[in-house]
């Protein structure tokens, strides 16, 4: 059972969280100018890195989305921050 640090609630069991998306994705807009390839990449293609990664997670119990940096191999969590003002 991993412990994830919600920026609002502190460390909580992983079962309280949902993965949202990889960090750093910008929704391509306006729709009329977005190629199918770009839209596909945005919707379906994930980097899925081995090692350090930045992701957006949702703390379901408080409803806040936040950024988390963690390692997909060691499961070590480097830290988390609220979404507000982040460069995503």
């Amino acid at each position: 059972m991993q412990l994830f640090p919600c920026p609002f609630c502190g460390p909580r069991d992983e079962t309280e969280f949902q993965f949202a998306t990889e960090a750093g994705k910008t929704r391509p807009e306006p729709a009329a100018e977005v190629s199918a390839e770009r839209w596909t990449k945005y919707l379906y293609l994930k980097d899925n890195p081995k090692g350090p990664t930045r992701e957006v997670w949702l703390h379901v119990t408080c409803g806040e989305f936040f950024l988390m940096e963690r390692d997909t191999v060691s499961h070590a969590v480097a830290g988390s921050q609220a979404l507000g003002g982040d460069p995503r």
Binding site: M1, Q2, L3, E14, A20, P28, E29, P30, A31, V34, A36, W39, L43, V56, L58, V60, G63, E64, F65, H75, V77, L83, G84, R88
Partner: protein, 949 residues
């Protein structure tokens, strides 16, 4: 003679049965010690060859003594006799044996052992098909029997605990660690799997801080408990999981077992070590035991393992066992594999050096042993092949082991952050060293405990198993793996330990190879000419011992597995005769009355169309979106534009996923430019809240808009049907109900019973309808008032089933039932927003992909069948045959018998359905074919006159 009790110490006798025979043990016995005390030698049959087997160990490592236990009507299968306390009236049964362990019918199997080598099942039953053989083989396999009549209660609590230091193991090392950690001021948890703390201090005497070891152990525990620390006995730390979570299974007397989930800043592993057997021909005869276990039975239970005992050893530690047994009255011979022993033995104990154990005679129990060619009459053979440190938690924390020649075993290598390993688990066997390591591991605060007794020496000289002629030398007792099976695996190139394990099943039984893994990999090393370090170990996966599923599942079973949401008016509905069913996670009235469900549902539907139906619609979502950007948020999340509504008006629409697929449908009410209420379908409330939140937080100014789910705060009662306005008028809500003031798709705020009441004109039946939302506190009063008003109007209570029927007559969809993971709004003929709406909304781009624009998409349609035919089965596939090949072109999503129309109605998703109106297709379901004709979705009142009727 065999084992017997030599000292009961005045303990209370405890009657029990084993395989139907009555016996008596004493207070403090385990099942195993009681069986030994009664001279029971054969306690079970081996898994594969059904060889008679006796008790080998004294703890979690026991491979043979696995039993089913019935106590107070509850049967627990596959219990280790060595760890289960004996209780009054316990009925103990051997496993894998019929009728009894002593007289097992399948015992003949062993005579065919030569034909059932390792890998036999893999090779033999491949042709023609494993599944032909599987049922019979499965019936032969398996150990204990579950009692199908017994449903274990869901009463095991799960307890979370955080502490500074978790110490696993309450032997000398663990006690010293806990003591120093506590003195340093941290919060300490000490867990131990034995009945009482002390570990080997309970059977190997030592004097610590001037006290006998057992007394010192009690004193440390008393000190810890007095200072508020947590000390658990009969509690096994069975696994270390992500981020250092340690799971502990605690057996409790008179209470259900508990699961502790412990997070500690530091973990001290002081789990001790397990003696491994020496391996020699026929070393599985009942009466061949672990030397250390014999000492445990003698010192803790007053049970002497035999009258004439041969102690076979490759180390000094077994000498203390020999001395103790001799002093207890047994005739003892030591067979030492080493050229010379390092300890002097007293008179009367013969020591044979450079001994080889050539074999053991006695099918149902040892009768003699051949040592270096010389037969010795014996009823018991004790073996000690050295000690294997219990390093499971260290390895689960990603620690790496190193092979230590001095103890002939793997011990922890480089330390792991946040963890210390101390004592025998770390390869230390001298009590002074054990105490020092424990004290340091706990932080080193205060005076270290001091032992004034001389240190044991171990002085092990490795004596690993190796092939020897034709005799079977057993390594894994529980899974019947012998040295020759390891040799076979090596010949067939399964040389990696992980392959060895899976090919021979070595270490895969419920004892997880605690006594056999080390011997198995050493045998593989010897056979393949590699070192033990090169050969390596298999992965130490949790759980350390079998943990009952009831403990893991805890209370999350039955109604607590996935609890239903309940209506505020549940009791009223019950009083009104409701039959409850689950709909989208809510327990709702399916129908009312005691008649046939179909009859009651038809009655409700017909009556609601004729007069007025009263329905509890409370689960419908009421999600408030508030703030200057509220309109922007709801617009962005909807297919239809909503902010253009006038305040007081309501609009129907879809929410899409970013893939353009319909996620939910529902209505949105606009209260003002900065206040909307999203009324999504009842099963999607949580999901819609999260979608709104996600975009609110990620796209909009989160200080300018808020999302609040007020669904649970309101009860919604709906009146639907031609007389619904008359009914609502009688409630005195203070709302002008004229169609000019309150037209369809509008709402008005009134009051009821001194509180607010919102009246909304939306309809899921196609008839004039009023939804009245009141705070849940006044729901009962509103319900009673509506029932009272309905009395004069011939009103009917409407359950969910009738509502589902009425909406299907109108062709109103249920998102997720009449749509699937591909359905887009234009597949239902609603393409306006896609074609006309400017600006972004969720899912927009996906509505224009090549796939979204295909002309052969499945589209939502209605279906009719020929006069007099019954309804189509839901799920029936529409099929098309082209060039001899039949393929599905869609399926029935909803299907009902309409009581008002007197014929079936159905909805379906069909390829190009919207351009196939009037076409008749074949529908296939479970081997039968029906014909149905594609029709508009709306089968009832297509002009929509009744919405104001």
């Amino acid at each position: 003679m065999t084992a017997r009790r030599i000292s009961a110490g005045g303990a209370r006798p405890i009657p029990f049965t084993f395989d139907g025979k009555s016996f008596s043990g004493i207070q403090g016995d385990t099942i195993a010690s009681a069986l030994l005390a009664n001279g029971v030698r054969v306690v079970g049959r081996s898994f594969k060859y059904h060889r008679p087997r006796g008790i080998v160990g004294s703890g979690a490592e026991e491979p043979n003594a696995v039993v089913d236990v019935t106590l107070a009507g509850k049967t627990t299968p596959n219990v280790r006799a060595t760890t289960e306390p004996l209780a009054d009236g316990m009925a103990v049964r051997s496993v894998n044996a019929a009728p009894t362990a002593e007289a097992d019918r399948a015992g003949f199997l062993d005579r065919f052992a030569a034909f059932i080598p390792a890998g036999f099942y893999y090779k033999t039953f491949l042709w023609p098909d494993w599944h032909l053989f599987e049922p019979r083989i499965r019936a032969m396999a398996g150990l204990g029997r579950l009692d199908p009549a017994h449903q274990p209660p869901a009463d095991s609590p799960s307890i979370n605990l955080r502490c500074d230091v978790l110490v696993v193991g309450a032997g000398a090392a663990g006690l010293a660690a806990a003591r120093s950690a506590a003195r340093a001021g941290g919060r300490v948890m000490l867990v131990d799997d034995q009945d009482a703390p002390g570990g080997s201090l309970g059977h190997r005497p030592a004097v610590i801080d001037g006290m006998p070891g057992g007394v010192w152990a009690e004193a440390v525990v008393t000190e810890l408990r007095a200072a508020g620390h947590t000390v658990l006995s009969r509690a096994t730390a069975f696994g270390l999981y992500d981020h250092g979570l340690v799971a502990v299974w605690q057996r409790r007397t008179g209470l259900p077992d508990a699961l502790w989930q412990v997070r500690a800043k530091r973990i001290v592993v002081a789990a001790g070590a397990i003696e491994r057997p020496l391996v020699f021909p026929d070393n599985d005869r009942p009466g061949v035991m672990s030397a250390e276990a014999a000492l445990v039975y003698l010192r803790r239970h007053g049970v002497l393992a035999g009258e004439r005992i041969v102690v076979a050893t490759n180390n000094d530690k077994a000498y203390a066992v020999a001395v103790a047994l001799h002093e207890a009255g047994a005739q003892v011979t030591v067979a030492d594999t080493r050229p010379r022993g390092t300890l002097a033995l007293r008179d009367g104990v013969e020591v044979i050096h450079q001994a080889t154990i050539d074999g053991v005679s006695g099918a149902r129990g040892v009768s003699s042993v051949t040592v270096s060619g010389r037969p010795i009459e014996a009823d018991c053979v004790l073996t000690s092949g050295g000690f294997t440190p219990t390093v499971h938690l260290f390895c689960q924390a990603k620690g790496r082991l190193r092979f230590d020649e001095a103890i002939a075993g793997f011990i922890p290598g480089d330390p792991v952050a946040g963890m210390a390993v101390a004592g025998a688990a770390n390869g230390a066997f001298a009590v002074s060293q054990v105490l020092a390591q424990g004290h340091a591991a706990g932080g080193g605060a205060g005076e270290p405990p001091r032992a004034t007794t001389p240190d044991d020496t171990c002085a092990v000289a490795a004596a690993w198993p190796a092939p020897r002629g034709k005799a079977r030398q057993w390594i894994d007792f529980q899974n019947d793996v012998a040295v020759k099976d390891v040799a076979l695996a090596a010949r067939e190139n399964f040389r990696s330990v992980e392959h060895l394990k899976r090919y021979t099943t070595l270490g895969m039984a419920t004892d997880q190879g605690k006594t056999s893994n080390m011997n198995g990999l050493a045998a593989m090393a010897a056979i393949t000419g590699r070192t033990i370090a090169e050969t390596g170990t298999t992965t130490y996966r949790p759980p350390f011992v079998p943990v009952p599923f009831t403990v893991v599942a805890g209370r999350r079973r039955g109604e607590f597995f996935n609890p239903v949401k309940r209506l505020a008016l549940e009791n009223q509905h019950r009083a009104d005769g409701a039959v409850f069913r689950e709909y989208g996670g809510w327990l709702r009235p399916g129908w009312y009355g005691t008649g046939q469900p179909a009859t009651e549902i038809a009655r409700e539907a017909r009556q609601a169309r004729a007069t007025v139906g009263i329905l509890d619609g409370s689960p419908l979502g009421k999600i408030e979106v508030i703030g200057p950007q509220a309109g922007a948020v709801v617009d962005y999340n909807s297919y239809q534009t909503l902010s253009t509504l006038k305040p007081g008006r309501i609009r129907y629409g879809f929410m899409l996923t970013e893939s353009g697929v319909i996620y939910d449908d529902g209505v949105v009410s606009k209260l003002s430019d900065d206040h909307y209420v999203v009324s999504c379908s009842s099963g999607h409330v949580g999901g819609v809240v999260l979608r709104l939140e996600e975009w609110r937080q990620d796209r909009f100014d989160r200080s300018q808009v808020f999302v609040h789910n007020s669904t649970p705060q309101w009860a919604t009662l709906t009146a639907t049907g031609p007389r619904s306005r008359d009914l609502v008028a009688m409630l005195g809500l203070g709302v002008d109900l004229s169609d000019d003031a309150l037209p369809h798709m509008s709402f008005a705020d009134g009051s009821f019973a001194g509180g607010p009441a919102r009246v909304s004109r939306v309809s899921f039946t196609g008839d004039r309808s009023y939804e009245i939302a009141v705070p849940t506190g006044t729901a009962k009063a509103l319900h009673l008032a509506m029932m009272e008003a309905g009395r004069t109007l011939d009103a009917v209570l409407l359950g969910s089933e009738a509502l589902l029927l009425l909406r299907a007559e109108k062709g109103y969809i249920i998102a997720g039932k009449d749509t699937d993971g591909t359905t887009m709004p234009h597949d239902l003929g609603i393409a306006g927003p896609r074609d006309k709406r400017a600006g972004e909304f969720v899912g927009k781009r996906s509505l224009f992909t090549e796939n979204a624009l295909r002309d052969d998409r499945q589209q939502g349609v209605g279906l009719t069948v020929a006069e007099g035919e019954p309804p189509l089965p839901t799920g029936a596939h529409a099929v098309e045959t082209r060039g001899g090949a039949r393929r599905s072109i869609g399926f029935v999503t909803s299907s009902y018998q309409s009581p008002v129309l007197g014929r079936p109605v159905a909805l379906a998703l069909i390829e190009r359905g919207l351009s196939r109106l009037g076409e008749t297709l074949d529908f296939v379901h479970l081997g039968t074919t029906r014909r149905a004709t594609i029709a508009p979705v709306c089968a009832f009142d297509p002009e929509g006159a009744r919405i104001n009727g």
